[in-house]
């Protein structure tokens, strides 16, 4: 089906964007219409990651857009990065996830915590998509509580021996590089860069997902993996390392969710004008108008939240708690809109003729990964009261 998407901009938020930001956004929007929309439904139905898109994602600049150009990044600002994530997720959350992981969870930590040698070795190849990366933090028994992780390594002179496992890892099945978080002998969390082919390092795929079906998810298993010491990040220790990456990724997700919501709203609005019942379009009925009016209200609020957060990020002032608020609000907003849009589409809403169910199922992952809906609420709660309710 032809992608007839028209982006809603109820408050003329485009006027808040620079011409360059709009050009970035429009270029990715055009690329999504041309490359993602025609193939994504089939990829999701077959539960296959469309690997051929990697080259195009790299070419348009979706990998490391805000990192400096000398390392292969785009040198763009944070609002542009957010807009790229919005447009990719308008296509599909799975594709956005692949780009988020590559940019914010692999390239960002290598750039921020890595040595110059690590930056030069990995970043240019990750930017061109020649190498794909994944990020290992979550473990089978440690999701919301990553500091309890069991993965660990022991010092053996010029190298370390890594043991443990990670779960729910986007890009794992095909990644060439993994940024892995594990404890040293003192129990401190360190970041290590693993490469495919290291003996004892395997990445079994997770099958049977009902969500992010067009994205590959897997485990990382470390069985006495010998990792050279030069692969350990020299510039970070403790949970602040992985949390720094998650801040960047969660920021991108807050924009991405707006993209998914925009697609659901746009489809529902069009359908409501075309579908005739009782002799008139269903968009003429008050109950449908209520749904659509509430959708555009929530999308507009989320767009403004993202834009403001992007400006704060550009000024290096966005706090982790502000990012939590945006991630939690926007993903929940998108999921609610997907559900309401599904109702407007009636029975057609459950088919692959429309993107609604795919977005809805994807968002069930997005509301859980990178900090669950509830955990982000507790972060906001802690931020406003000064009291932690985590333990």
């Amino acid at each position: 089906m032809t992608d007839r998407f028209t982006a809603p901009d109820y408050y003329w938020i485009d006027e808040l964007l620079t011409e360059e930001q709009k050009l970035v956004r429009n270029s990715v929007r055009e690329w999504v219409k041309k490359e993602i929309s025609p193939i994504i439904e089939q990829a999701a139905q077959k539960a296959e990651f469309p690997k051929h898109l990697i080259k195009g994602l790299a070419h348009i600049g979706a990998f490391g857009p805000y990192l400096p150009q000398q390392y292969g990044g785009g040198g763009l600002d944070q609002v542009s990065y957010g807009l790229i994530m919005q447009e990719l997720e308008r296509g599909d959350s799975g594709i956005r996830s692949t780009a988020s992981v590559q940019s914010s969870l692999v390239m960002y930590p290598i750039y921020t915590y890595g040595s110059e040698g690590q930056r030069k070795k990995y970043l240019p190849k990750l930017a061109t998509g020649e190498w794909m990366g994944c990020f290992g933090l979550t473990e089978p028994d440690f999701g919301s509580n990553p500091s309890g992780m069991l993965s660990n390594f022991k010092d053996k002179g010029d190298h370390v021996i890594l043991n443990g496992s990670k779960m729910w890892i986007s890009n794992a099945p095909f990644a060439d590089v993994a940024v892995v978080w594990a404890k040293d002998e003192k129990g401190e969390i360190n970041g290590l860069i693993l490469e495919r082919g290291m003996k004892g390092f395997t990445t079994p795929e997770t099958h049977g997902k009902w969500s992010l079906r067009a994205s590959a998810t897997g485990e990382l298993v470390f069985d006495n993996v010998k990792v050279p010491k030069e692969n350990i990040f020299p510039n970070v220790k403790g949970l602040k390392g992985p949390l720094g990456c998650l801040n960047s990724a969660r920021y991108g997700i807050s924009w991405g969710a707006v993209g998914a919501a925009m697609d659901c709203y746009d489809s529902a609005l069009r359908y409501s004008k075309e579908r005739i019942q009782f002799g008139k379009p269903i968009g003429a009925f008050q109950l449908t108008q209520k749904k659509l009016a509430e959708m555009i209200t929530e999308i507009t609020k989320a767009q403004l939240l993202c834009w403001r957060l992007g400006v704060l990020k550009n000024e290096n002032r966005a706090t982790p708690a502000q990012i939590s608020l945006a991630k939690r609000n926007n993903v929940n907003m998108a999921l609610e809109i997907a559900r309401e849009a599904r109702q407007i589409h009636g029975g057609m809403g459950i088919t692959g003729e429309y993107p609604i169910m795919r977005h809805m199922m994807n968002l069930e992952s997005v509301i859980t990964y990178e900090g669950t809906h509830d955990i982000h609420l507790l972060i906001t709660g802690m931020d406003v009261t000064g009291i932690s309710a985590f333990e």
Binding site: T6, D9, W12, D14, E19, E20, K22, L23, V24, N26, S27, E30, W31, K34, H59, I60, G61, P65, Q69, G74, G75, L76
Partner: protein, 245 residues
């Protein structure tokens, strides 16, 4: 080879068109402007030709400062530099005069345009520029090759195609089949920041047309289905109701 590509700044194809109360101009609030899609094809072909045989691509637009984002996009796609003739593009003759006067001072080997712009669709600027410069023009090209200093162009004709060989300089209007438009990437967008965009003041010229008013087409009426077993009824409707036969 030096190629000049003429760029029009037009409303996006999905724009809902509304006019001011006097019906004399478009309401631009909320309208997204884009490079005229046929001009984007011309630009892509120009880039392909220079990538193959060397040279440079310049883009030119007759427009006010609001059209600069459109020129920046052309630079992001790959043009080396841009020229903006600082004037409102009042009508085709005015635009053609401005472009021709610029080319007289800065000659090019090949000038590519879209076959028409998708706002006013007159498709007359390329031929007017050619006439003003006294150079050959091909109004609607299907393919454009340049070999040994000559252009070989396939042109649409009624019921077929015509292959034309023509010496340079030449001006050609490009249709869909000339090239597949390119989407700018981040690297291109970043490099467009520093590429030259020169603003040139317009020459004085007459205009021969003025807008009397715009009207939207009448809304499409509903479809009337005629049973396949009753072709006579169709003929009767076409004759008596629609009065087309």
């Amino acid at each position: 080879m030096k190629i000049l590509v003429c760029i029009s700044h037009v409303p996006d194809t999905t724009t809902k068109i509304n006019f001011t109360p006097d019906n004399k101009s478009l309401i631009t609030q909320g309208v997204q402007f884009i490079i005229n899609p046929y001009d984007e094809i011309a630009l892509t072909r120009a880039l392909e030709l220079t990538e193959k045989s060397g040279g440079s691509v310049t883009v030119i637009n007759v427009g006010e400062a609001t059209t600069e984002p459109t020129l920046r996009k052309a630079l992001a796609i790959g043009a080396a530099d841009a020229v903006r003739i600082n004037a409102q593009p009042r009508e085709a003759f005015f635009v053609a005069t401005q472009i021709a006067e610029y080319i007289k001072k800065t000659p090019y080997d090949l000038i590519l345009c879209g076959r028409e712009s998708i706002d006013f669709n007159s498709g007359t600027v390329p031929s007017m520029v050619a006439e003003m410069l006294g150079i050959p023009s091909v109004a609607i090209s299907k393919t454009i090759q340049v070999e040994n200093g000559k252009a070989v162009i396939e042109r649409e004709i009624e019921g077929g195609k015509e292959v034309i060989e023509c010496a340079l300089p030449l001006i050609a209007g490009c249709s869909e089949s000339v090239a597949e438009p390119r989407i700018p990437n981040m690297r291109g967008i970043m490099s467009a920041r520093t590429k030259p965009l020169v603003v040139v003041e317009p020459v004085q010229t007459e205009t021969f047309t003025k807008v009397a008013g715009y009207d939207k087409p009448a809304p499409r009426s509903s479809v009337k289905l005629v049973d396949a077993a009753e072709p006579g009824k169709l003929l009767e409707l076409l004759h008596t109701e629609k009065k087309v036969i």
